[in-house]
């Protein structure tokens, strides 16, 4: 990639309503600046985040994903974030299997009071994904998903 | 116990007695010191006052030589050298700096060597041994003086507390001495200004000596040749500043321990001090 045309990755952030969404609001209220690449999708809790959705995002051409919720023990719903974390461990191996660099998924915790952490998280993720380059193997994931859906229905 | 040894320039010259006492107690404590081959000067204050790359390259060569020799741990008795080596090691964690220095040295350097000062060596390899081998308890009330370079910058050296450090006091207690609680443990003695600004050294060292004497210390215990020479050799200038003669001796921690271990005063180089040591 030549230096003039910087690669602008597409990054989706799946965040929980109570901690990270509020934290990102605080980033705004504090007028801290960050890159425009990341767009937030709001969830009630990271426990809600279905990792199939992450795969679908890759299949659809996302270059990177941020998943962020409350700190361990601070979950608004007691334990949703623990479930999310446990699933994430299993999900890593699936990603691996499909040749998606696990570094494309940034798993983090940002509390409602950590506005500056959110800005840092976004900027670091953008830099990391930029370094990894665009994600190109989405067809592979798409194929897998199609198969998965068929299996699921069968 | 085998361990690498970097004496540095002062220990071969103006602070021979520090070297002598380190070697003497190492022998008694069964610590085998292996001197780094063909070592060079660390550059001391001069190098880092004048040029940063020079100040990193000189210590880097020393450590590269030690690595080449297969040493994994090196004791550096001079606090100034210890500080320079540790800080360089820290600075060279930076990739670009390391690259640049390797280019200058044309020697491989991986920064893996453990650099320790004399107090750490004694704590690590001698503490129990010393206690067992004390033959003539060092029954004196002394002021342990740490100076700047042994404890600062704390973020890099990670050695003892910055204000009111304790490790030297602990060692003195092990050999039967008592230490005073005093205010100038880590105040600067004037460091590298010994020759260029003797007036300032006299003022700063004078404050240190006075506080120790006022609180009834019989001697100052040090672990740095620069501190020792400022406090000892500059006594003429100091006495002029503080307007009273001060005869409190300044001895190395290794000498104090050596005395307790029954080593002869001469072997410990105690005769080489300017202020007569009668302990």
């Amino acid at each position: 990639m030549s230096s003039e045309e910087i690669f602008e990755p597409k990054i989706v952030a799946f965040v929980c309503n109570w901690c990270t969404y509020a934290g990102a609001d605080l980033t705004g209220t504090s007028r801290l600046k960050y890159a425009t690449n990341v767009k937030i999708v709001r969830f009630p809790c990271t426990g809600r985040i279905d990792f199939l959705l992450l795969l679908k995002s890759f299949a659809q051409g996302a270059d990177g994903i941020i998943v962020s919720g409350c700190h361990p023990n601070d979950c608004h719903y007691t334990s949703g974030n623990f479930h999310a974390r446990r699933r994430w461990i299993a999900f890593r191996s699936i990603l691996d299997m499909m040749g998606v660099d696990v570094r494309r998924v940034q798993y983090s915790w940002v509390s409602a009071a950590e506005g500056s952490k959110w800005a840092d998280l976004v900027n670091n993720t953008v830099a990391d994904i930029r370094a990894l380059g665009p994600y190109t193997d989405y067809q592979k994931v798409a194929d897998y998903l199609e198969k998965e859906v068929q299996d699921g229905e069968a | 116990m085998k361990i690498g040894f970097y004496p540095g320039c002062s220990l071969t010259g103006s602070s021979r007695e520090y070297n002598e006492s380190v070697v003497a107690i190492a022998k008694v404590l069964d610590i085998e010191l292996t001197e780094i081959n063909d070592w060079n000067c660390c550059g001391a204050t001069a190098a880092h006052s004048m040029n940063e790359e020079l100040s990193m390259s000189l210590p880097a060569r020393i450590m590269a030589m030690a690595e080449k020799q297969g040493l994994t741990e090196v004791v550096v008795p001079c606090a100034a050298c210890y500080n320079r080596l540790k800080v360089t090691q820290h600075d060279l964690k930076d990739e670009t700096k390391r690259k640049r220095v390797s280019e200058i040295l044309q020697l491989p350097y991986d920064g893996s060597i453990e650099i320790i000062n004399v107090l750490q060596m004694l704590e690590k390899y001698g503490a129990e041994n010393i206690k067992a081998k004390v033959t003539q308890p060092f029954a004196h009330k002394v002021a342990c003086y740490y100076g700047c370079l042994l404890v600062r910058p704390h973020s890099i050296l990670q050695f003892d507390r910055v204000e009111d450090p304790q490790s030297m006091d602990e060692l003195i207690k092990v050999v039967g001495g008592t230490t005073i609680d005093w205010a100038f443990k880590t105040e600067c003695c004037g460091g590298g200004f010994s020759v260029s600004r003797t007036d300032l050294v006299a003022k700063l060292s004078g404050n240190i000596l006075e506080d120790a004497a006022d609180r009834g210390a019989e001697a100052l215990i040090v672990a740095c040749p620069m501190c020792q020479s400022n406090l000892d050799m500059r006594r003429g200038a100091i006495n002029k500043v503080i307007e009273r003669p001060s005869d409190i001796p300044v001895i190395y921690i290794t000498q104090a321990i050596g005395l307790a271990l029954g080593i002869d005063a001469k072997e410990l180089g105690l005769k080489r001090h300017f202020v007569t040591v009668e302990l």
Binding site: T36, R48, H83, R87, A112 | -
Partner: protein
């Protein structure tokens, strides 16, 4: 095809300064399914809301997207507007163009494009939204107040005076908090005890307040209007129903050298003790860690002394359960010690004190009966140095924030000292004097001008002891950095006000957020200072950040009003953001296969088993059903269900999928 209305807000210039709002409206207007798109200066204003209402009617909209501030700010506003126009409120969504876009990016093409993407995302979501009915739940009109400092006291009294029941729990043997430890209070110098004690007594006697001292919250379950609190009543070893508070046991207890918490370590107390003379309740507890009987099995002198036989040796902690509808957190703050500041003496010099210790010295109920005397030798200090910001505004060794109260209490201390020791000299080393408050600046000026307190602008580098004096090495930066050395008899550090220890665990029990310093986080820094992010839990006093008494009391009354407002309803309306298991026509009934993975995932035990029976009563199959009273809408079950049979209203698979796809598709 959908008919969606899109309303883009300028927020004055907050959005329009960096986002080309006209272009956003224009481009969105061209989207499939968008019937109407406009931009306007202030959407939340009256005319702004009217635009929405009129458009709903005029274009017969079946969905609304407002591109404005955070939904955490105005979602209720716009949903209400839609409802007033006859549109189901859950068909209205907000795109966060302010907090997540205009405020965090520079003006430019990308920023506008991001704004467009964000609106599009919500338009795609709204297309998949379903009308929902809000859920009504009953309200338990009883409040739990945690912490019995002035904040907890004030909140309890205010709530109780609206006619509602209050349960107040206090960790220590007495209520009163830090205020009970203070000597006199700025800015008026009235005696702290004199104004506090009547309120403490009022709490104890109020028919609507149930006070549990020596008690802590064990757990809190449930949700707004319907919490269940488990409270641990720590064993006091004294039967309060018979104890008369005569104090005879205390007189006789042989263990007398325990540092008194109330006197900040400057005085001592016995093992059976009442923390201070005006304590409420004024009955003792036995400190089991220090009592001879509990330690070694012998003594029981107190038992022999007690005329009414009130000592209870074998009493265990008791856990009780209380149903409450709202919680006020008022657990206050803590004061850092002197020992984290190596250069000021590592806590090893007895005459280097914290401000709180100085309060005890200056207090008539303190260890010196109000005379300022040195802890080391009891001498009256002739020279005293106060060091402001000792730990505050100090990222290296302390905390970066300003503790807010110490400038004022330092001025007060210096003033009290000058009033008590007429020939004394006091010096305050300060960086800035922060005296914003009614009569505060006047108070500090009085200290300087009338009471001749010497204010020196600069920090102190170190303090050391020599010949019984504390040598203070400071600087006067207003004299170009001239070093100042003072031989003092006493040094008082205005140490930082920090979060109470254990506040993090408490926050986790309550599921409220806290800031990086472990103070509880308010829901909005300006507009919701007493609310937390968890509905039904409110904050009062210094547990939110260090603050002085007037501010604490104001906040406590604010929290009380919030509670009273909540209790003014018989029912609460809850958002219908809950999970549902799909139901289909027979013979399928549902795609749910009855694996009950969802049940294992649900933190609220909201998944029930539903048996589907044939007409003859025979069981066809068992599927999952969500108890809408218990479900909190976390959605964890959804992620666990392999057959995608359970979904969460408001965040359905379809909805989030539509959002993500809209983001990635262009």
């Amino acid at each position: 095809m959908s008919k969606i209305g899109v309303f883009i807000c300028h927020c004055g210039e907050n959005i329009s300064a960096t986002v080309d709002v006209e272009r956003v409206a224009r481009e969105i207007g061209g989207m499939e399914g968008v019937a109407h798109a406009i931009d306007y200066k202030y959407m939340c204003s009256d005319p702004g809301q009217t635009f929405i209402k009129e458009a709903v009617k005029k274009y017969d909209l079946d969905g609304v997207v407002v591109g404005a501030c955070s939904p955490r700010m105005h979602e209720p506003t716009f949903r209400r507007a839609c409802a007033e126009a006859g549109l189901n409120p859950y068909l209205c969504e907000m795109a966060n163009l302010r907090e997540h876009c205009s405020w965090v990016h520079e003006k430019g093409e990308e920023t506008t494009e991001k704004a467009i993407d964000l609106v599009k995302m919500l338009v795609e979501k709204v297309k998949k939204n379903n009308p929902l009915e809000s859920i009504k739940v009953p309200v338990t009109k009883r409040a739990l107040v945690i912490g019995g400092g002035i904040a907890g006291i004030q909140a309890s009294l205010d709530i109780a005076n609206t006619g509602h029941k209050v349960i107040l729990i206090e960790r220590d043997p007495s209520i009163g908090g830090h205020m009970s430890q203070l000597s006199e209070t700025f800015p008026t110098l009235d005696c702290s005890q004199c104004i506090l004690t009547p309120r403490m007594v009022e709490v104890a006697q109020h028919p609507n307040i149930k006070l549990y001292t020596y008690a802590e919250l064990e757990s809190l379950e449930g949700f707004i209007g319907n919490f269940t609190a488990k409270i641990r009543l720590k064993a006091k070893s004294v039967n309060y129903s018979t104890c008369t508070g005569c104090g005879a046991c205390i007189q006789k207890c042989p263990v007398k050298k325990i540092p008194s918490e109330f006197n900040a370590g400057l005085g001592t107390r016995t093992a059976i003790y009442v923390p201070f003379p005006q304590a409420v309740p004024n009955k003792p507890v036995i400190d089991r860690v220090n009592c001879n009987y509990y330690k070694r099995g012998a003594c029981k002198i107190c038992e022999k002394t007690c005329q009414v036989g009130s000592i209870e040796w074998d009493k265990e902690d008791e856990i009780i359960s209380e149903e409450v509808g709202a919680v006020v957190l008022a657990t206050g703050f803590d004061v850092k010690g002197t020992d984290f500041f190596p250069e000021y003496g590592y806590g090893k010099y007895k005459d280097v004190l914290t401000g709180l210790q100085f309060e005890r010295l200056a207090s008539a109920s303190g260890p010196t009966f109000g005379e300022i005397r040195r802890p080391s030798d009891g001498a009256i200090p002739k020279k005293i140095v106060f060091i402001a910001c000792a730990g505050s505004r100090d990222p290296a060794k302390g905390i970066p924030y300003c503790s807010k109260i110490c400038c004022m209490y330092t001025a007060k201390h210096a003033m009290l000292y000058q009033h008590k020791v007429h020939d004394g000299e006091s010096t305050v080393f300060y960086m800035d004097i922060r005296a914003g408050g009614k009569n505060y600046e006047e108070f500090v000026r009085r200290a300087i001008e009338e009471d001749t307190v010497n204010y020196v602008r600069g920090r102190v580098a170190r303090v050391y002891e020599k010949n019984g004096k504390l040598i203070v090495k400071g600087v006067d930066t207003l004299l170009g950095g001239e070093q100042v050395e003072i031989e003092a008899d006493m040094v008082v550090l205005a140490t930082a006000g920090v979060a109470n220890c254990g506040s993090e665990q408490l926050a986790q029990k309550l599921h409220v957020s806290y800031d990086p310093y472990h103070f509880f986080a308010e829901a909005h820094p300006k507009l919701k200072p007493v609310e937390t992010n968890t509905a039904g839990i409110f904050l009062a006093g210094a547990c939110q950040a260090p603050k002085d008494i007037p501010e604490t009391v104001g906040m406590a009354s604010g929290a009380a009003v919030k509670v009273a407002a909540l209790f003014s309803n018989n029912e609460l309306v809850r958002e219908p953001i809950i999970a549902v298991v799909n139901r289909l026509a027979p013979p399928l009934y549902s795609t749910c296969v009855g694996c009950f993975m969802c049940e294992t995932a649900c933190p609220y035990n909201a998944i029930e088993h539903e048996e589907i029976k044939a007409r003859d009563g025979s069981l066809i199959r068992t599927i999952a059903r969500v108890n809408s009273g218990l479900c909190q809408g976390c959605g964890t079950c959804v992620a666990f269900c392999r057959s995608k049979s359970i979904d969460i209203q408001g965040y359905t698979n379809e909805q989030v999928y539509a959002e993500v796809m809209s983001l990635l598709n262009d």
